[in-house]
Amino acid sequence: MNQNNTNENKFFLTDMEENQEGIIISVLGGRMATKRLADLGLTPKTEIKVFKKAPFSGPVMIEVRGSKLIIGLGLASKILVKLK
């Protein structure tokens, strides 16, 4: 993992605001979850941007590798992100 991160700059994907950009630090949680995300191109060091967040703690819509993905709250809350 990258040593330059200070704790203040670490966010969970769910805590990011719309239009904020960040870089994935790591995915916490089981192998299944991490692998499923990795298959969609969400691996550490990947740049992402939050496009929309559904209200009432709904899913997050992000832009990654030139396309959009929606990720349910449960999965999104396992993705640790460093703000750009």
Partner: protein
């Protein structure tokens, strides 16, 4: 004469890349949609005649990777490895090339000759994207053909390049693509160790899957040589030490990195100065407030159009069919054979009367919304609500369909990822009041009790769906999966795709519902001839009269309703001799009858659809539960209402 040359090809690719457009173009009406053996996943096969070849095309389900998480994925890789198609056509979305390449890299490792069909090149310019096809071809080592499937451009070139490939004997082009040094070393060691182990897969692919901790492949190798797995574990640990994450992530990461490298070499993106219209539209339709407004507006207008159109057309058909029937009755006279034929005719006409006015427009509009890209936004907006029902956003699509007809709704539960989610969604869809149930609600309660009561019944139905969802998600074993799906860009819908999709679904509905509706029509005619109606009414009277407080004749109506629900209303007016139900039924009785009709049993066509998707046991369970549930609920409500009204 030329010897007939047969080819077997597959279409492989991620979801939303235009595979079905290409499949429909290639095979037209020569296609057959069945199920994969033992699975509830759809298998689309078709035949094509091209330049003297008879080409069998199999459209593999849209997938994200070839690691087994969903059934679709394991079906696809097994099929490619064991059936060894002459070549694979990997359809990729040129606009989203980077993420698509993640799949392509895995497909190439399976070692079949492959043609890369780079679809949607027509959209590149407006997005400011340039792709160098020649360099891409060189890097991947397979033919790359730019196509624009919705304009039918380039598809035959794909076939030509594929057929060209057959004449070369070099089956494995994948070795040009290399991952990082440590991973390549580990692969090399494993490939050597795998020597002599016989599987349908290539050694390199196996090695990668073993490093990725793919459960299915691990099991396969354990059966052949369990010693090897220790070796694998050592290599994994080494990789994990170097990279600092799980070895499965190491491989995925390498693949992402490789895809990124390729993109850097072949793709040039000039940022657009203006925000495109589709981007603006996306911002509105996925907005936390406006998104729900647009969704409500779109759904409301969809239902309005369908009910208005359906009402009009079914009224028209009613007149035509009534004339047809009476004409037949006059020429045929009265005999057993004639009434048998009449029963069949009635059933066929009944089927048309559901399919044409309600299901057909429903499918057309729904596939239009899907092809345009809107349905994915609904899944996004509804995810939170669907979680409360124990499932996730995608389930909103089958539930929505259920308002039109429960049959396509049940069949569309296939879009859910796991068996659990599929069945759960299936249970919920059969509680959605379909258009036939709506005919009763509107025609009985809306007309004679009041629109507010009719509206209340819908609210009540939705409430019940929530309760059932809560209960079922607690009872069904397994864990809820999280929503994760790709958001397709809005695009110009293709009329051809919409019509073909609609036609195939409609055909499926007729195949499922047709035989059952006809057979049960004959049985009911037989019961009528035997004069058993009063007998059945008497038999059911403890429930219908005593518990539900309805007139005795409703007993036989509820039996008819199994055939198709709106028959309850039609038969009610013929039996009572009046269409003014307020004269013969009290408001409580009308409400009770509407609730029973809405809930009591999935109609025969829906039962058949349930059986097709979930098997007899589950279908029987759902059906029996619904009957008891409806009787209990409607009876209780009737008793409660009679206190107040």
């Amino acid at each position: 004469m030329n010897e007939k040359k047969k080819l077997n090809i597959v279409l492989a690719g991620q979801a939303n890349v235009g595979k079905s457009v290409i499949f429909n173009y290639l095979t037209g009406l020569h296609q057959h949609i069945g199920n994969w053996p033992g699975k509830t996943i759809e298998k689309a096969e078709g035949t094509l005649f091209y330049k003297g070849y008879t080409i069998d095309v199999v459209d593999l389900p849209g997938i994200y990777s070839l690691t087994t998480y969903s059934i679709e994925e394991s079906i696809s890789r097994e099929y490619i490895a064991s059936q060894k198609p002459d070549f694979a056509v990997n359809v990729v979305d040129a606009v989203h090339l980077e993420r698509n390449l993640l799949f392509t890299l895995q497909l190439l490792e399976l070692g079949r000759p492959t043609v890369l069909a780079l679809n949607m090149i027509n959209l590149l310019k407006e997005r400011g994207i340039e792709i160098n096809f020649k360099i891409l071809e060189k890097i991947l080592g397979v033919p790359v053909v730019p196509i624009a499937a919705i304009y039918r451009k380039g598809i035959t070139d794909v076939l030509d390049r594929g057929i060209e490939l057959l004449n070369f004997q070099s089956p494995t082009p994948q070795n040009r693509l290399k991952y990082g040094k440590e991973v390549e070393q580990a692969i090399e060691i494993l490939v050597e160790a795998l020597e002599g182990i016989n599987t349908p897969y290539t050694k390199r692919w196996l090695a990668l899957k073993l490093l990725e901790r793919d459960g299915e492949i691990e099991k396969l190798i354990r059966e052949k040589n369990s010693e090897l797995l220790k070796n694998v574990e050592n290599l994994r640990t080494q990789l994990e030490k170097i990279h600092g994450h799980d070895s499965s992530i190491v491989i995925a990461d390498e693949r992402c990195h490789l895809a990124f490298q390729i993109i850097k070499e072949v793709m040039k993106i000039t940022p657009l100065k203006k925000i495109s219209l589709q981007e603006r539209f996306d911002a509105v339709t996925a907005h936390k407030i406006w998104g729900y407004f647009t969704m409500t507006a779109i759904m409301a207008s969809m239902f309005l159009v369908i009910f208005k159109f359906g009402d009009w057309l079914s009224g028209l058909l009613e007149i035509i069919f009534a004339n047809l029937q009476s004409w037949f009755e006059t020429i045929s006279g009265i005999s057993v054979l004639a009434s048998l034929f009449l029963a069949v005719l009635k059933s066929v006409l009944a089927l048309i009367q559901i399919a044409l006015p309600y299901i057909l427009p429903f499918y057309l509009i729904l596939f239009l919304l899907e092809d345009w890209g809107y349905l994915a936004r609904v899944a996004f907006l509804m995810d939170n609500l669907m979680h409360k029902l124990g499932t996730h956003g995608k389930a909103s699509i089958p539930l929505l369909l259920g308002f039109g007809c429960n049959v396509p709704a049940c069949l569309s539960c296939r879009i859910m990822e796991t068996e659990r989610e599929r069945f759960l969604t299936g249970i919920l869809t059969v509680f959605v009041p379909c258009s036939a149930a709506s005919v009763i609600i509107m025609g009985l309660v809306g007309k004679f009790v009041g629109m507010y009561w009719a509206f209340a019944l819908y609210v009540f139905a939705i409430l019940i769906i929530f309760v059932i969802g809560k209960l079922a998600s607690k009872i069904l074993p397994g864990e809820a999966t999280e929503l994760i799906m790709e958001m397709p860009d809005y695009k110009r819908p293709s009329l051809r795709t919409i019509i073909l999709q609609t036609w195939f679904r409609l055909k499926e509905f007729i195949y499922i519902a047709g035989p059952l509706v006809i057979i049960s029509g004959i049985i009911i005619e037989g019961i009528y001839w035997a004069g058993w109606f009063p007998f059945i009414d008497n038999l059911l009277s403890p429930i219908s009269v005593k518990w539900l407080g309805l007139p005795a004749i409703t007993g036989i109506l509820l039996i008819f309703g199994i055939l198709r629900k709106e028959l309850i209303l039609v038969m009610l007016s013929t039996t009572l001799g009046t269409a003014n139900f307020a004269q013969v039924l009290s408001p409580i009785q009308m409400l009770t009858l509407a609730i029973v009709s809405m809930l009591y049993i999935p109609c025969i066509a829906t039962i058949a659809a349930l059986r097709k998707e979930f098997g007899w046991k589950k279908t029987l369970g759902v059906t029996v539960f619904k009957i008891f549930f409806a009787i209990a609920v409607a009876g209780s409500i009737s008793k409660i209402l009679s206190i107040f009204l």
